[in-house]
Symmetry: C2
Subunit: 154 residues, 2 copies
Amino acid sequence: MKKEDFENYESLLLDNQLCFPLYASSRLIIRLYTPILEPFGLTYTKYIVMLALWENDHLSVKDLGDKLFLDSGTLTPLLKKLEVQGLIHRERSPEDERNVMITLTKKGQALKEEALVIPQKVGACLNLNPEEFKELHRLLHLILKDSIKTKCGI
Amino acid sequence: MKKEDFENYESLLLDNQLCFPLYASSRLIIRLYTPILEPFGLTYTKYIVMLALWENDHLSVKDLGDKLFLDSGTLTPLLKKLEVQGLIHRERSPEDERNVMITLTKKGQALKEEALVIPQKVGACLNLNPEEFKELHRLLHLILKDSIKTKCGI
DNA sequence: CTCAATCAAATTGTTTACAATTAAATTGAA
DNA sequence: TTCAATTTAATTGTAAACAATTTGATTGAG
């Protein structure tokens, strides 16, 4: 085996991947959320939908998808479940019947108050100091904003 | 609404979450891998299993699970598919019949050579400079190593 | 105006991910 | 030595995630 071949194999080491720790830590943190969200009747994906709506009520499925990087194939069944739970209301927009508008119910609005404990509980499990938190946040948003959409047409 | 209530709601802003950009960028990068891996007959999860085996052949399902933070419920069906594809071989350990040992076939070993193009193609899509790459890598491994297992019993 | 192109949501089918349970092998304390 | 506890894989059932397609509404070029 030539030297340059040996060196190339470095790029296949698990420890040299960026995507792997991204994928693994994402799943690990979602697993951390799961038991905390369970008493609220929320899964992690339902939770981020609620976060988006608490921040900005009355969004279309498309708006939610753009914010959360999810498509209607994921959102539609999930939103139907949130509707059954009485947290949101789904209604076709009269102005443009292509759009389905999502609105919080009273119950959905009220849940925001109770949800305040969630970030506290999760934050207590992460050993990152504020600078590390901030830097990680910055780098991840760099990936979300620049890297992929611009250069690789996703 | 009291002032302190208003300030607490900050913690529920999507943009103040760490988990959300982690989750979103992880999925975004996996979507980036998908078309690159497709010609090799690999999905992202199959790919990281192959990475682990290229690095260290002859691992048990448990070993793989520990390395990749995956359980047998995910790995067993996936390994069966890799076996059907002729990339690996599954065999119960004679020493301890609880363990199923995973070994690369000739074809699985040979694929390593072709896979060398994968990190190049993916790397070209990420706008991170080497320092940012390194720092992101460090912070993610910090999450994987310390934060969760130690403090929150996962 | 009109109809082809576009757009949004829903649907269908496949792959992951994981909790919970089961089955079989191994270990170790009494 | 023996059997209860532990360990490993596999299985079962559920929820996500997403590609591809379908349906229906809207837009805009000619």
